[in-house]
């Protein structure tokens, strides 16, 4: 009976007997039968290639029907895409359309199978092309799964966009098998127990390189602390010097860039689980079969790393692997294969994943990455809804007073004498009811976000404000005027949508009308971020809003929020009910479905 790795805690893993360990199955996928999810490609006229494929399959409990022979040569790089199609792609397409291949979501490019092909001056990675095997070859296409800001595990919908593909190759069959064993040893470790060596610093020559370096530093600030593992970081020397990591020991990860080659002595003794190494160079993955070449991927796998990645030819700075989505996914329980697919900007391109994509690791931390609202962000958003509820209720009072006034203003004595007592009772019954209904709720709301400090202090520290309606309901919300929204201020908030699978960049169109049908003449405001982004913000990091860039928002931000904050010129009447329609348009002039909202000015 197989034992599934993901079902076990770190302690349970550490206490497995050798017999149990032999039965351990690493199951990184959220659903599906692993034995039929992984296709292992081997060279049909190579006994060693078949031996490796069988070895890998047996270690993972993969059905032998998923071993796919392809009629390829022993070359590491094929001469053209046509040759690649004949030798690898077309036979694999036939297999994937077959009874067993239909369920394949992961492809292992096995020992001795070509790792890439020449195309227009680049070397396209076999794994990158195979990720898009269900789609037309489109060199350097933007990866639709790249850097999704709202994390979700890889699923069938994602598999329709890109398959997880990895390569396991080495100078010898024995070394290739040892890569599989490395993964199992790493899995047995249970929890990451080594350091991350992180080298974000290198001389930059253009804006693209500066942008990449900025992303590395952003990872260092935002995600690295959450991983809760010790780190070694390079420090800045001068703008001309590429400060490199001199050597690594007790390491579990390494992420660097621009250091083209290393040596066997770079990796010191292996006392820790070596999980993943990436160096952002331009040709490290061109060969993993030459032991004398000293390229990073080959050295990393040889040093016991379970997985690594590298470029077969220059991916350009824009195409380098990104650490933030990679570690964010890994931290949340994704496998190496998933994390790689979420972190590689381009497909049908030059970057290759090496090693075992099925590996998942656990980090030594009690902290959990949450996608919900911080208390400050939740306070702000709840305040919008609370002030709306109060505004609606006050408008309800107003409606009853209107009724009273109709009776009161009539010229008919009969109407007044016969109906006034009942309508007076009706009006008296609801006047000031809002205060009674909401008083305790407002009081509790004002206590919600703060510790020992006062509400004004909290609002000051957060740069936040509350509605003017709240102090009317409860004295607990009495704050200086500076912490109250202006009369007529409003803001609109929605979630960024991305209903199609292609990568896209969106602008936003918001229409405000006085009726829900948006009849002619009822539209009072139209905003289009392709014309002006003034007042528009998006949630770049969780709960952190920044101004929308002129060019639009990438589809990878789907699930994050967008916000329009009204300037004084767009203030509406107090408690005015209005309707908002919003839709998005991408660079291909495709639009998302329109979403309609009813809102009230709660200030």
């Amino acid at each position: 009976m197989p034992i599934y790795w993901s079902n076990l805690s770190a302690d349970e893993l550490a206490n497995l007997t050798n017999e149990q360990w032999a039965e351990l199955v690493v199951d990184p996928l959220v659903s599906g039968d692993l034995s039929l999810s992984v296709a292992v490609v081997y060279r049909e006229d190579s006994a060693e290639s078949l031996e490796f494929a069988t070895y890998y399959a047996d270690k993972h409990g993969i059905d032998h029907a998923m071993l796919v022979p392809v009629p390829c040569t022993g070359d590491e790089i094929l001469s053209s895409y046509a040759a690649f199609q004949t030798q690898i792609e077309n036979p694999l397409i036939d297999f994937l359309a077959d009874e067993y291949g239909l369920t394949a979501r992961i492809i292992i490019v096995g020992y001795g199978v070509p790792g890439g092909f020449h195309h227009s001056g680049n070397i396209i990675s076999t794994t990158s092309r195979l990720s898009r095997i269900h789609h037309t070859f489109d060199p350097g296409m933007s990866n639709p799964l790249f850097a999704r800001q709202r994390f979700k595990r890889y699923d069938d919908d994602d598999a329709d966009i890109a398959i997880i593909a990895s390569r396991i190759d080495a100078p010898t069959l024995a070394l290739a098998k040892s890569i599989v064993n490395n993964m199992r040893l790493t899995a047995r470790q249970g929890v990451v127990n080594g350091k991350i060596y992180f080298d974000p610093l290198a001389p930059t020559v253009d804006e693209a390189e500066e942008a990449y370096q900025a992303e590395l530093l952003d990872f260092e600030a935002q995600v690295l602390p959450v991983l809760n593992i010790p780190s070694y970081k390079t420090t800045f020397w001068d703008e001309y010097t590429d400060v490199v990591i001199p050597k690594v020991s007790a390491d579990s990860f390494m992420w660097s860039w621009k250091a083209d080659r290393a040596g066997y002595t770079f990796f010191k003794e292996k006392t820790t689980a070596r999980v993943f190494l990436y160096n952002g160079d331009t040709d490290g993955a061109e060969s993993v079969r030459d032991p004398l070449d000293k390229r990073w991927p080959m050295l990393a796998l040889n040093a016991g790393y379970a997985a690594t990645a590298g470029a077969m030819s220059d991916p350009l700075p824009e195409g380098l692997l990104r650490p933030k989505p990679f570690f964010d996914a890994l931290f949340r329980g994704a496998s190496i294969g998933e994390a790689f697919l979420f972190a590689v900007p381009n497909l049908d391109w030059t970057i290759t994943l090496f090693g075992d994509p099925l590996l998942t690791v656990k980090f030594p931390t009690a902290e959990v990455l949450l996608d919900g609202y911080t208390s400050a962000s939740g306070f702000n958003l709840m305040g919008q809804h609370l002030q709306s509820a109060i505004a609606y209720y006050l408008e309800r009072e107003e409606a009853y007073i209107d009724i009273f006034n109709i009776i009161n203003d009539t010229d008919s004595v009969e109407v007044i004498t016969q109906t006034m007592p009942a309508f007076t009772s009706l009006a008296n019954g609801v006047i000031a009811e809002t205060k009674g209904v909401f008083s305790r709720l407002v009081t509790e709301y004002t206590k919600f976000p703060r510790g020992a400090g006062s509400l004004p202090q909290f609002l000051f520290e957060r740069g936040d404000k509350i509605s003017r309606l709240l102090p009317l309901i409860s004295p607990s919300a009495s704050v200086p005027t500076a912490f109250l929204f202006d009369f007529g201020y409003w803001q609109f908030e929605d979630e960024i949508q991305h209903p199609v699978s292609d990568f896209a960049k969106y602008t936003f169109i918001l229409k405000i009308a006085t009726d829900d049908l948006f009849t002619v003449g009822s539209t009072i405001l139209t905003l289009d971020t392709s014309v002006s982004t003034a007042g528009w913000y998006y949630e770049k990091e969780s709960n952190q809003f920044v101004e929308i860039p002129q060019g639009g928002i990438l589809s990878s931000f789907a699930g994050r929020r967008i916000r329009y904050v009204s300037p004084e010129t767009h203030y509406f009447d107090e408690r005015k009910v209005y309707y908002a329609r919003i839709w998005q348009e991408n660079e291909f002039s495709e639009t998302t479905p329109t979403r309609t909202f009813k809102q009230v000015v709660g200030t």
Binding site: L370, G372, Y373, T374, S375, S377, G378, F379, L381, M382, H385, L386, S388, A389, I390, Y392, Y393, E395, R396, A399, Y400, D402, I403, I406, I407, T410, S412, E414, V415, Q418, T419, P421, A422, F423, S425, L426, G429, V430, V437, F438, R440, L441, E444, Y445, K447, F448, P449, D515, D516, L517, V577, K598, V600
Partner: protein
């Protein structure tokens, strides 16, 4: 005698008041949804959730039965119309006016059934 214009205004204002109460309840649901996704201490979340639920319960109770003051007001209005016009349904038909289903239900509660022919759509689009 009340004018047909004032009669329609009253009927529509009553419906509007009811809808605004429903909108308030929906806003509280949204607030509660945000709260359930907000990171805070269990005690604070529980205290705020209790208050939201109490207000929601209060509104739900009010909406489950017509506001008695509203029913009494509609009753006095329909009695007035009946006294001077003979019947509410004739008053509406002769003025080619259809009231909303909401107002018709209030009227029924007040003891004045409005014929289906005199019931139209909501005042509020």
């Amino acid at each position: 005698m009340i004018t047909i214009g004032d009669y329609i205004s009253i009927a529509c204002a009553l419906e509007r008041a009811d809808l605004l109460q429903s909108d308030a309840a929906n806003s509280l649901v949204s607030m509660q949804n945000v709260l359930s996704s907000t990171r805070a201490s269990d005690g604070k979340i529980l205290a705020l959730r209790n208050e939201i639920e109490q207000v929601r319960d209060k509104i739900a109770l009010q909406r489950s039965q017509p506001l008695q003051n509203a029913v009494a007001a509609v009753q006095s209005l329909q009695r007035h119309v009946e006294r001077y016009y003979g019947s509410v349904n004739s008053f509406l038909a002769d003025n080619s006016v259809k009231v909303s289903p909401f107002f018709a239900s209030l009227s029924l509660e007040a003891g004045y059934e409005i014929a289906a022919a005199n019931i139209g759509s909501s005042c509020i689009s």
